[in-house]
């Protein structure tokens, strides 16, 4: 079933042919993060795809994955171009290395999940919180509910985890 929704005043839609994306976001809507695991080589993959990037098998099953990891890199947007984000600067786009499958299948690979730095209820984080986050910051996943069958995975600082002394941030504040 297709999805038409609004998020921050921005139209989001998924056609009913988007089987993989619909399944991915359905799990997110249940606040239960899942990724595809290849039926042949067992490797997880992100974002959803129609075949395995490592072994080309077209068979996969959805498996639950814990949304915990560390920031691999980021950008901090001060001049938004999308109208939806103009009232929310500065906002952070994080690339997060999941703990699961880190360094596999090769040393420099990881499941790198995109998300904004958010608050526990899934709203975009305020500037004071943005200043605390950099490369290495431990984060955990929360969800922004958008519509039935559609929630966006987001990241919050994992207050329970041991944090690096100084996460790496761009030197100019």
């Amino acid at each position: 079933m297709s999805i038409q929704a609004q998020y921050l005043g921005m139209p989001l839609s998924l056609d009913d042919l988007e089987v993989e994306n619909l399944t991915y976001f359905k799990h997110c809507a249940a606040h239960d993060f899942h990724l595809q695991a290849c039926a042949n080589c067992s490797l997880l993959r992100y974002p959803p795809t129609t075949a395995c990037p490592w072994c080309t098998s077209r068979e996969a099953k959805w498996v639950p994955v814990e949304g915990k990891g560390a920031v691999h890199s980021y950008t901090e947007v001060h001049h938004a171009i999308q109208p939806a984000f103009k009232g929310h600067t500065p906002y952070m786009v994080l690339l997060v290395d999941l703990d699961r499958q880190l360094g596999k299948p090769t040393e420099h690979e990881a499941l790198r999940i995109v998300g904004n730095l958010a608050t526990p209820d899934g709203k975009l984080a305020k500037p004071e919180m943005v200043k605390r986050v950099g490369i290495g910051t431990r984060v955990r996943m929360v969800f922004t509910d958008v519509a039935p069958g559609l929630a966006l995975p987001q990241w919050i600082i994992d207050e329970a985890a041991k944090q690096p002394d100084n996460p790496w941030r761009y030197p100019q504040e």
């Binding site: 171009i81 786009v93 690979e109």
Partner: protein, 418 residues
């Protein structure tokens, strides 16, 4: 420099020096062209034909690249009275120039046509904004874009920044080192009467300009302009009958990709870009290496893209790109100037074509600056690179263009003076 002839017809090397860029042309670089991309494209292609000394009947192939923001080749050909034996309009922006030059060589080699004009016509300021603002920023977010645009991760600067940031983290690259790219290109543009921005800026100016998205300041980003640009490809033996010293094509690499190109951040190191792979095609096929190159055209959508590519194509050791772009090497008068026209940061935004045009003119020893003209109508270059002066590189024999689509995709080309 003399380069060895290669007779190994069992490898791509046998195409070395067999094809040439025989004509180059562009419109003026403006913000507010006041005309259609069809009119711009027609203007640029006709300028390239005039430059080569070719008539409509001499051109029978046409290629263009665009992303739904331009006019297709048959309209440009029709306007110029060109009957085509081959044409193709390809989807894409940056890194297309070198890739399409390779395609042009291939279709001529296949006997499909004899001479190919390649153009890029765009109103990148007044119609489809290259920075992604305006209408493009407000289109509905659908399908796989939910994994990027729904997070405010959309423009080129936003999409590339995690790569730039990680390079700083991995190698200690400093903002001031990268800002030196803009300072160098602005110095070059100050000697280019065609450049949109001709004012020189300093590293301090770049770092003091407002932050767009970290690590990019306003002046780390290229200019958005309206313009069309064109080059004409023919066999080198035909080129010798034409007006200019031909720019012989030594080798090309086209749209070479990193692994997982649909979401290249999954495969690292993310501070490495596609040039790491493209160089393995470019240098062996060209029969030269970075040390042989006199002038580079490393794509400067952003200051960082120039630095990352120069590093991954091997002009310096991995991780030393920051030093390489800030120690004077890439400046006019330095060992290996980059983007002597001012490039995308200052001359105008063309998705790569103006950097190829500039290197063709460098190889002709005939860049268009403010040096006095001699009796033959050609500039008598002073090699004094002060503001408003010369920008010809003395004795330029070999150039390299390094085209960029995104961190995961790039194209490249080596040319030499014929």
């Amino acid at each position: 420099m003399p380069l060895p002839a290669d007779t190994d017809v069992s490898s791509p090397k046998h195409l070395r020096d067999k094809y040439a860029i025989v004509g180059v042309g562009e419109t003026t670089y403006t913000r507010g062209s006041g005309m259609t991309t069809r009119a711009l494209g027609t203007w640029a292609v006709s300028n390239a034909m005039l430059d080569a000394g070719l008539k409509a009947a001499d051109v029978d192939g046409m290629l263009s690249y665009q992303s739904g923001d331009s006019t297709f080749a048959p309209f440009i050909a029709g306007d110029l009275g060109i009957r085509l034996n081959f044409y193709m309009d390809v989807f894409g922006g940056g890194s297309s120039t070198e890739a399409l030059i390779g395609i042009a060589m291939g279709v001529i080699e296949a006997g499909m046509c004899k001479t190919v004009a390649i153009f890029r016509a765009m109103n990148g300021f007044s119609q489809v904004r290259i920075g992604g603002t305006g209408a493009r920023s407000a289109v509905p977010v659908t399908s796989d874009m939910l994994h990027s645009r729904a997070y405010g991760w959309q423009s080129a600067g936003q999409m590339f920044s995690p790569t730039f940031m990680r390079h700083m983290y991995d190698y200690g690259t400093k903002p001031a080192q990268v800002a030196a790219v803009r300072a160098a290109h602005s110095n070059h543009a100050s000697n280019n009467p065609k450049a949109y921005y001709q004012k020189r800026v300093t590293v301090e100016d770049v770092l003091a300009s407002r932050v767009i998205c970290k690590p990019l300041h306003l002046l780390d980003c290229c200019v958005e302009t309206d313009n069309a640009t064109a080059v004409i490809i023919a066999r080198a033996d035909r080129a010798r009958d034409l007006k200019h010293t031909p720019a012989l094509i030594r080798g090309v690499a086209g749209r070479v990709c990193k692994p997982r190109i649909d979401m290249h951040y999954q495969a690292g190191p993310i501070s490495t870009v596609a040039g790491r792979y493209a160089r393995e095609i470019l240098w062996p096929n060209s029969g030269v290496g970075p040390e042989d190159v006199d002038v580079t055209g490393s794509y400067d959508a952003f200051t960082f893209t120039t630095m990352l590519q120069l590093e991954d194509y091997g002009f310096c050791k991995k991780g030393e790109g920051g030093r390489y772009v800030s120690d004077g090497t890439i400046n006019l008068g330095g060992r290996r100037p980059n983007n002597t026209s001012g490039g995308h940061l200052c001359e105008g935004y063309t998705h790569g074509m103006n950097m190829v045009i500039e290197n063709v003119r460098q190889l002709r020893h005939d860049v268009d600056d403010s040096c006095p003209k001699g009796p033959d109508g050609k500039r008598e270059h002073t090699y004094d690179y002060k503001e408003g002066g010369c920008r010809q590189v003395k004795g330029c024999e070999v150039t390299a263009n390094l085209g960029w689509a995104m961190p995961g995709t790039g194209s490249a080309m080596v040319m030499r003076r014929g």
